[in-house]
Subunit: 224 residues, 2 copies
């Protein structure tokens, strides 16, 4: 056992080095201009070795998605521990999500072009992206389930998956945002959450309830 | 005068032939695999002549956008003449817009990848796309201005530009829709319009009014 552990740890360190080299290149050169060869060189491993850990550049993107979402989860934790109101908890998930994306501001348009096609394996709504997506959906679920709210249970159940699609729309808007510190996106999120706050109690009105459930179900089902 | 008219008309016919050849190729081969050379060949003109009429492939895309939006305007006309209720008029603009896109169903994902980057000249929110965009925004403006509604004027003013951004989001969802006859998108639009119907009267409530105006302004300002 003692003999194999350092070997495993070396393997983990190599994997992490490749992963870091990929992220650095995605940030500096962008998605399209990053190659497995460059990543291997920066990480100081052979190209074959890089492919052993990550069968394609897109596997490295998925690895990045998961890492970013684990950071998102860490960033939102203290806020979810402190806030009880539903809209404040949702605000916490949205805002920390956008903050976590800050290092990718310049590379975002290139990623967007590569991920937007419905058949792209790095589309956040694709089957391949399920592990990263489940982290984010899990944060929205925690925000909803741990909140003091009076939402009907069928609405509360559907919210997290629908909010993930809304989150992607917000990230799309963020990618287009040229205002300093993405102030335009922040103000849009804020105004949207204030309207949600006013609208939420009406979800219990019978006619509204059924239509809201239908709309949430349809939004939650959007997949690439 | 009589001598020049046939010449102008020949020029117009050549332009239309190039334009039709481009559309046929965009539909068959997709955006990425279409070249000016192919278009010129199909249209029976020299490559130089094709470039004389359309300085780049992207000019042909803008030409297509404008043509599709003029078709959209023609398709919605009888409905705007018949419907008076705001939500019914908006429904007419959204639904005829999606119908007009039907021939581009298969080529839509490729177009999406080419147009989504904020700096793409064929981004529907770009300066280059203003002529086509203004047709669509004009339809939403006509739907709002010709409706029997009791919206505050500052809300009514901001609606058309904001609705254009909502329309693009709907077209994005349509591009992802694999259900037969895009039934998923149609149901989402329908549920969204029914909720809008319920929500609209509340726009006159003072706290809601200011926040709704703010959100509409922020959405309307989104540009690439």
């Amino acid at each position: 056992m003692f003999e194999t552990e350092p070997a495993l740890s070396k393997s983990e360190r190599t994997r992490a080095r490749i992963s870091e080299a990929a992220t650095a290149s995605f940030i500096e050169r962008g998605y399209a201009d990053t190659t497995m060869r460059m990543i291997a060189e920066t990480a100081g491993v052979s190209v074959g070795n890089a492919y052993y850990y990550f069968p394609s550049k897109n596997h490295l993107v998925q690895d990045l998605y998961e890492r970013v979402q684990r950071e998102h989860a860490l960033a939102v934790r203290p806020l979810l521990d402190a806030e009880r109101a539903l809209v404040d908890r949702l605000r916490a998930v949205f805002e920390t999500g956008l903050s976590t994306l800050a290092p990718y501001e310049r590379s975002a348009p290139g990623f967007l072009a590569a991920m937007i096609a419905p058949d792209s394996p790095i589309n956040p709504l694709s089957a391949d992206s399920a592990p990263a997506r489940e982290i984010t959906v899990g944060l929205f679920r925690e925000a909803v389930d741990g909140a003091q709210h009076r939402l009907p249970s069928d609405i509360a159940e559907r919210l997290p998956d629908a909010l993930f699609v809304v989150y992607l729309a917000l990230v799309l808007r963020w990618t287009y945002d040229e205002s300093a510190h993405h102030a335009g996106t922040a103000r849009m999120l804020d105004a949207g959450l204030r309207l949600l706050s006013v609208a939420l109690p009406f979800v219990r009105v019978p006619g509204v309830h059924a239509t809201a459930r239908e709309l949430l179900t349809l939004v939650a089902e959007v997949r690439s």
